[in-house]
């Protein structure tokens, strides 16, 4: 379904000419060479903290953000080479589910109008057909059609997220890229939304890219899991038995925090004061197992056992 190779997305921070004396332009490597495949019908999980580049990755794959390097192929076609009707078709087939439904729903419009938009953009059906379709989709996310008259501001967080989900589903996509679909929601509501998402996936045979910092959720719902750290994938393996078989020190660190192990190497200020353009493994400053090579050469993502990929010198 998806073939990502060497995806890079860099941001250049330019200061105005006066400030440049003290702060030279520097490059933020949000996504720094990511490669992975997503099979049709699979739930591919990506675990990442803030700063890992996961959101940038999601947006780039949705072509909401430009590419600095590498390729993204969807069903064999280069996404960034698409234009016109092919691009429109891509957008119809690959839909996002974002975190903050507050900002993705226009507060001025009522729900019916918000949900009508995708159908209008792609000129699907006439008035009656559209209403029918919207009503059906609302039912699928457990909202009654009466919600069409309401405004997003009148809805609870969970309801808003469901409206956003309905909007993504209206175009009958093949893929959902969900970036933190449940963070910020109460636990009962979050579970509800997750259950809904998984049920819809089953019913419609969707391919889902689930991106979250919540390990438990990703390990529960995904078929395969990738762990991102500072723009790179450091580990990629099957979700079943992931906790037991993981190797990369960062993954072990995350798992340790999850289980609140007392001797987990506590990292003070993990994301602070790090130079982006340093060569070598991005985790070297915090890694308890670092070798000499780790300072100079970034480890490639290589297969340590069938289906299990790790980017670590020490793991070899």
């Amino acid at each position: 379904m998806f073939e990502v190779r060497g995806l890079r997305r860099y941001f250049v921070v330019r200061h105005n000419p006066l400030a440049r004396i003290h702060h030279p332009d520097h490059v933020i490597r949000a996504v720094d060479g990511i490669s992975f495949d997503v099979a049709e019908g699979e739930t591919f999980g990506i675990i990442g903290e803030s700063g890992s580049g996961k959101t940038t990755l999601a947006r780039t794959m949705l072509r909401l953000s430009p590419l600095t390097g590498g390729t993204v192929r969807f069903r064999g076609r280069d996404v960034f080479a698409m234009n016109g009707s092919e691009l429109r078709a891509y957008r119809r087939l690959v839909q996002p589910v974002f975190q903050d439904a507050d900002s993705t729903l226009d507060p001025r419009q009522h729900v019916g109008s918000i949900l009508e938009e995708p159908l209008l953009i792609h000129r699907i059906g006439d008035d009656a057909e559209r209403r029918h379709r919207i009503g059906m989709t609302l039912n699928q996310v457990n909202l009654s059609p009466s919600f069409m008259e309401r405004h997003p501001t009148e809805l609870s967080g969970g309801q808003r997220q469901r409206v956003a989900l309905a909007r993504s589903l209206l175009l009958q996509p093949a893929v959902l890229i969900a970036d933190e679909p449940t963070s910020g929601l109460d636990p009962l509501v979050a579970t509800q939304i997750l259950a809904l998402l998984l049920r819809l996936k089953e019913e419609r045979g969707l391919t889902v890219l689930l991106i979250s910092h919540d390990l438990a959720t990703v390990m529960y719902a995904a078929d395969r899991v990738a762990v991102m750290y500072r723009g790179r994938i450091v580990e990629l393996a099957a979700a079943n038995g992931f906790a037991a078989q993981s190797i990369h020190p960062y993954t072990r660190f995350l798992l340790g925090m999850e289980q609140r192990l007392p001797d987990n190497h506590v990292v003070e200020g993990v994301h602070e004061h790090i130079h982006d353009d340093a060569a070598g493994c991005p985790y070297v400053h915090a890694c308890p197992h670092h070798l000499h090579a780790c300072h100079h050469e970034a480890p490639p993502l290589s297969e340590s056992s069938p289906g299990h990929f790790v980017a670590c010198h020490a793991a070899q």
Binding site: N142, D186, T191, Q192, L215, E258
Partner: protein, 333 residues
């Protein structure tokens, strides 16, 4: 052990054009001196209103009934001036939103000094003018003391921290600063409101670490819907729903063997075991204006009895646990 805080039959209402919102409906809770109580609940359960009521910040809501006893003194009838002495000094709040709770125009050191001024002058927040000078030496000693409690040792890093502005710090660091500020006031009661809404795992771990250290020396109330947070920081836990405490008891006991059907749902919903279906129910938010008769949970309750629709349950307690549920009426008494 004496009770540091004791809330009795607290009712807080809000008048809105749509009707009266019953945010708190007979809240009873106790926090013993030196103990740490967790309050779990989702949005709309009334925990925020409860918290604000302790500090008389519940406007435009009004306390309709009930008593709030802090070391035996009832806070409800106090006027604004008297409450100003209580706020920050007797009861200190670590606010939820670490990103915006600090003033971006002053350094960390300056804002912490402000807290010390409040404490020393015994004055209210309104009387303080933040001085633009650097903190003095005695201030620094206090800072060192407080930060070491949080596991942050004195040294160049601390100096740098004191000279920094809030926007230069990471979320975790800001959270620590907020906790430090609350500590400097040497409160009798420390309240942490949703301290781990920070998204980052690393930040969360740091914050929990700080809070755990505080447990030893302070009486605390931690408000959160997150099991991990409550587990790490509390001795006892109370679960809120529909403006009432519906279950309370020793933390380990309640988390491992919840009694109330809502508690069970709340705790079970956070489980993610591969192969097990998710326990999700269609729990719509409770309408606090048109309060259902009887037990507020009865419409969504999987174990509801006929009487649940008509009779609000009382509080049924055994020696240190309490459940507000008809299912347990016969067991306890």
């Amino acid at each position: 052990m004496t009770d540091m805080l004791r809330v009795s039959d607290l009712h807080v209402h809000f008048d809105t054009p749509a009707g009266v919102v019953r945010a708190n409906n007979g809240v009873n809770l106790r926090v013993a001196s030196g103990e740490s109580l967790g309050i779990m609940g989702e949005s709309g359960c009334g925990k925020t209103v409860l918290l604000l009521s302790l500090l008389h910040l519940q406007q435009p809501g009004r306390i309709v009934r009930g008593r709030i006893l802090l070391d035996g003194q009832d806070l409800v009838p106090l006027d604004e001036r008297e409450m100003e002495r209580i706020r920050g000094r007797s009861i200190a709040l670590v606010p939820q939103n670490q990103a915006t709770a600090l003033n971006p125009a002053y350094t960390v050191g300056q804002q912490l000094s402000e807290a010390l001024v409040i404490r020393r002058q015994g004055g209210s927040l309104g009387a303080v003018v933040v001085r633009r000078s650097a903190p003095g030496d005695s201030d620094r000693e206090e800072f060192i003391r407080v930060f070491s409690t949080l596991g942050f040792e004195a040294g160049p890093a601390l100096d740098r921290l004191l000279r920094s502005y809030p926007h230069q710090l990471s979320g975790g660091m800001r959270q620590r600063v907020l906790i430090a500020m609350a500590l400097l006031l040497q409160p009798r009661l420390l309240i942490a409101d949703e301290p781990t809404t920070a998204l980052d795992r690393a930040v969360k771990a740091q914050t929990l670490d700080s809070l755990q250290r505080l447990r030893r020396s302070f009486t605390m109330m931690v408000i959160s819907h997150d099991i991990e947070t409550i587990s790490a920081t509390c001795d006892r836990v109370a679960i809120m729903y529909g403006g009432r405490i519906i279950e309370s008891g020793p933390r380990a006991e309640v988390l491992a063997h919840p009694h109330h059907p809502y508690s069970r749902l709340l705790l079970r919903a956070q489980r993610r075991e591969r192969g097990e279906p998710l326990s999700a129910i269609n729990a719509e938010t409770l309408d606090l204006i048109h309060f259902p008769s009887g037990c507020p949970f009865h419409t969504a309750c999987p174990d509801a009895l006929p009487r649940c629709a008509n009779e609000p349950p009382g509080e049924y307690s055994t020696k240190d646990t309490m459940v507000a549920c008809h299912l347990y009426h016969t067991e306890a008494g």
